[in-house]
Amino acid sequence: MRAAIEAEGLVKSFGKTKALAGVDLAAAAGSVLGVLGPNGAGKTTAVRILTTLLQPDGGRAAVGGYDVVTEAHRVRQLIGLTGQYASVDDGLTGTNNLIMIGRLLGLGRAESRARAAELMSRFDLSEAAARPVKTYSGGMRRRIDLAASLVGRPQVLFLDEPTTGLDPQGRSDVWDMIRVLVGDGVTVLLTTQYLDEADQLAHDIVVIDHGHVIATGTPDELKAKVGGQVLEVVPADPARIRDVASIVARWAGDEPVTEPGARQVTVQVPAAAVLPGIVRQLDENGIELAEFSLRKSSLDEVFLTLTGHRAEDTANAAGTEMLTEHDREGAPR
């Protein structure tokens, strides 16, 4: 399949900080590429380069087959961008923001108006259409940002952390909208620090940390890469948790994780074939089980294994990546 987004060896530094240290990525036309990484990993820098807002120091990138540096104007005719930094005008009403973008894209007066009304109703904003955007709630704000990036019916859509700061309902609304767009054949590049978001939406995932790609693949491939499956065992008698841990360790060939005070032993197992042995030995030792379950490792564990730290550690500081990268960009080059 034709690649809608391709990047090879992207390098970008801000002063002494290397935001991107040679990033490759590709998204097939009509697919969703999830770019996953903690704050400061370089996700936003990558999106800013791909959307022609920033020039790379090295490497090349193309969107829709056009080079983002030498054919930037062509790229801009194909893309839509939603991110915390590519915003709409607070002082204008929702409708006027969309009309303005329609006019800038060369639509006629009536056409811009019709397109604005269509998008406002599709994003459930009709009631707030005549109000200035500064009166919108966080979720409405995100929806108008998304609507603004769709006025020109882009073929390739860049969504930089589209659900950061939204409540669960707001997130699932945005997910549904993304699914509809993908159904229409739009290629989507989505950055996120939420692993379940990438798991839910992305066909392919690129994991970035400290400006490097540390893993690529489908969500299933990534989960498999990290050692297949996760076994969770809960003894009926919490006092026997140490016995459970030592038995499980013998079979799994990996140190089980027993969190202090927890009643559960968690361990990565290479294959389901080891399970009968574990069950037998637990039984022989007279350990009664409250719970015994095997599941695929979640992207959370994948992330922990790949980067050595949990995604959530940094997720608390949402938004700092954007700010620091902005500041660095403002510094003299």
Binding site: Q77, D89, G152
Partner: protein, 270 residues
């Protein structure tokens, strides 16, 4: 939604035609004007400021400066207040550009297939509306207080146009400040700090004869002195050609220096 209907012409254009650029600028001018119309606070401030200065100068300082003849002082000071008000209003250009950049609206524009220079042109063209509002309010309120045009309406309009032309040059200074300073607060601090000595070290509010020699020299060369003198001549009678010509030369010079600086700072951002 179909992606084939609109977004994908056979091959997208390689660059923006100047005509499209002009249309982009006009759309963004429309946005600026819309913002002025909907932002009642800005509109109120824009109108109240010249009213306050007129009242202040006429009734607080006027009597002392003109030895009791308030009416005569009003005739003297109104063209000066006109110049001062429009000059302060030019700060809005830099402020708006700066806010657009920090709020991320600029990045939205930059991701669109529009002319690179259109947001800058749109901001400046849109601000002309603010300058016109300032001029009209100042003149109208001055007339309420008793200012009379002693020449003829056409000359008075020419005086207003002179002030607007000068503002159009000064807004490049403001745009430049707006593009190089990091925050909107910074724009205001820098802008006002730079403006106060220029506004008060001039003959726009008081005759310069009582100033010390060095300040007289500064005030005489100050383009605001020249501009206010030309405007006074056009509205109240007196020499026009020399101060008008000199102030417009200044405007041209300011534009020639600061427009390229602003465009360069703007290109760095884009």
């Amino acid at each position: 939604m179909s992606t084939a209907t609109l977004g994908a012409p056979a091959a997208p254009a390689r660059r923006v035609s100047p005509l499209t650029g002009l249309r982009n600028s006009l759309t963004l001018t429309w946005r600026s004007v819309l913002k002025i119309r909907t932002n009642s606070e800005d509109l109120l401030g824009l109108s109240l400021q010249p009213i306050m200065f007129l009242l202040l100068f006429t009734y607080v300082f006027g009597g002392a400066i003109a030895h009791g003849d308030v009416r005569a002082y009003l005739d003297y000071v109104l063209p000066g207040i006109l110049v001062q008000t429009v000059l302060f209003a030019t700060l809005g250009t830099g402020l708006m550009l700066n806010q657009d950049i920090s709020a991320g609206i600029f990045d939205r524009f930059r991701s669109l297939p529009i002319a690179r220079w259109a947001p800058l042109a749109g901001a400046i063209l849109g601000d002309v509306t603010r300058y016109v509002i300032s001029v009209v309010v100042t003149l109208a309120f001055g007339m309420v207080l008793g200012f009379r045009i002693a020449t003829n309406p056409i000359a008075a309009i020419a005086g207003c146009l002179l002030v607007l032309a000068f503002a159009l040059a000064m807004c490049w200074v403001s745009a430049w400040i707006g593009l190089i300073v990091k925050t909107p607060q910074g724009v205001q601090t820098f802008g006002f700090t730079a403006m106060f000595p220029i506004v008060f070290g001039s003959g726009i509010l008081v005759p310069i004869q009582t100033m010390p020699g060095w300040l007289q020299a500064f005030a005489k060369a100050n383009p605001l002195t020249l501009l206010a003198a030309a405007c006074r001549g056009l509205m109240r009678g007196g020499p026009v050609a020399v101060p008008a010509g000199e102030s417009m030369l200044w405007a041209l010079g300011i534009m020639l220096v600061f427009a390229p600086l602003a465009v360069r700072a703007y290109r760095r951002k884009t």
